[in-house]
Amino acid sequence: MKPFDYTRADDLQTAQRALHEGGTVIAGGTNLIDLMKLEVMTPGAVVDISRLDLNDIRDHDGGLYIGAMVTNSDLAADLRVRRDYPVLSRALLAGASGQLRNKATTGGNLLQRTRCPYFYDRDTSCNKRTPGSGCAAIGGELRNHAILGTSDDCVALHPSDMAVALRVLDAQVEIESLDGTRHLRPLDDFYRLPGTTPHIETSLEPGDIITAVVLPKPTGGQQSYRKIRDRASYAFALVSIASVINARDGKIENIALAFGGIGARPWRDTRVEDMMRGQTVDDQLIQKAGDLLLSDARLLEGLEFKADLVHRLLSSTLTEAVQ
């Protein structure tokens, strides 16, 4: 690992100034430290924000305010989360391992990098790692890559389980700018699609820092998180679905679906939800929903299997919701 200057931030402004000057902050460090070991990321300055007072979960406008430093373990175990937002608890527990969830934070999870193997291999080209160098994944071995929101420059997948649940719950990210003002940003505006600049992953400006994630008032409905992966534990999603569904007599009254394992960012397609609202769940509707979701999908060689998994996972999710 390249040497760097380590400092511990006593206040948010110290961390923001360091970010503004090109430094990196470390929260849980569960992804950052691995990237630094591999020298994929080589920050000259690392500011530790783990002791800043950003680790409370409190009631907020009927919803929940989750500090950026709340660990994945604490968030998954919170009684309000388990009662009102069980999809979030399940998504968190479907990710990583106990040791990592004890370290990983809410804000850090949102900013984790893709697990595309070419991004981690410095002997190959990667537009995310070295802008303009090309993408070795396209034409290479593809498996844990995206099929939606990709570009000719990048097919990297957003790996988070937590963010998929946050997307289905209409969570917003609270961001503090360098001038001290705070504002809320929906997840879709927070994450940028790769386009021709895959190295720019979020809409954060230099000096911006995530201070919290805010959940709206719970909507009720049946919530679930289903994740298909290569092995039953400690693996990233090949395809996952976070769902919140209100159904009556086999008919969908309201539905929200977010997908992991397929998108350049946690994926949600309101066209699919609009199409299903008021409809009776049957094989035809499930097929139509999957087809609509995947109508813009780019199924490069090696990724065709994801289309089948999406259809099957939609089928089990919708069938269970109306039972």
Partner: protein
Amino acid sequence: MKISMTVNGKTMSGEAEGRTLLSTFLREELGLTGTHIGCDTSQCGACTVHVDGKQVKSCTMFAAEADGAEVATIEGQANADGTLNKVQQAFQDHHGLQCGFCTPGMVMAAVSLLETNAKPSEAEIREHLQGNICRCTGYHNIVKAIMAASGQEVPAVAAE
């Protein structure tokens, strides 16, 4: 920089660079080589220790992050009279190890499980161990050892 922490109840300090991992600091600066470094990439869990009461992978943490923290390692697990604690003893009794490389991490993970779940089911044990890799035992005897350490009957485990 100088780093101090309470390790197994004793205040200890040493020198670290910013990039010094907690696992390296424990082994090379404090001489506590019971914490093993297996993969060094957050995968295998051999380096599991407890920091402020929670199990973490010490290769996934800078020593500086643990400055001032309470750290527990495998060296602090035996009873005061030097006998093995109940988890360690159960690993011995049930042959929960072969080469032994993963064992310090397995024991620290198991101790952490039993602190929050005194009578875990077999499924809960297996789920809890998702961050610890063993390449010898196939996990069966590790699961049995943890069942035994929690004072439960040791049945034939799944897939056996």
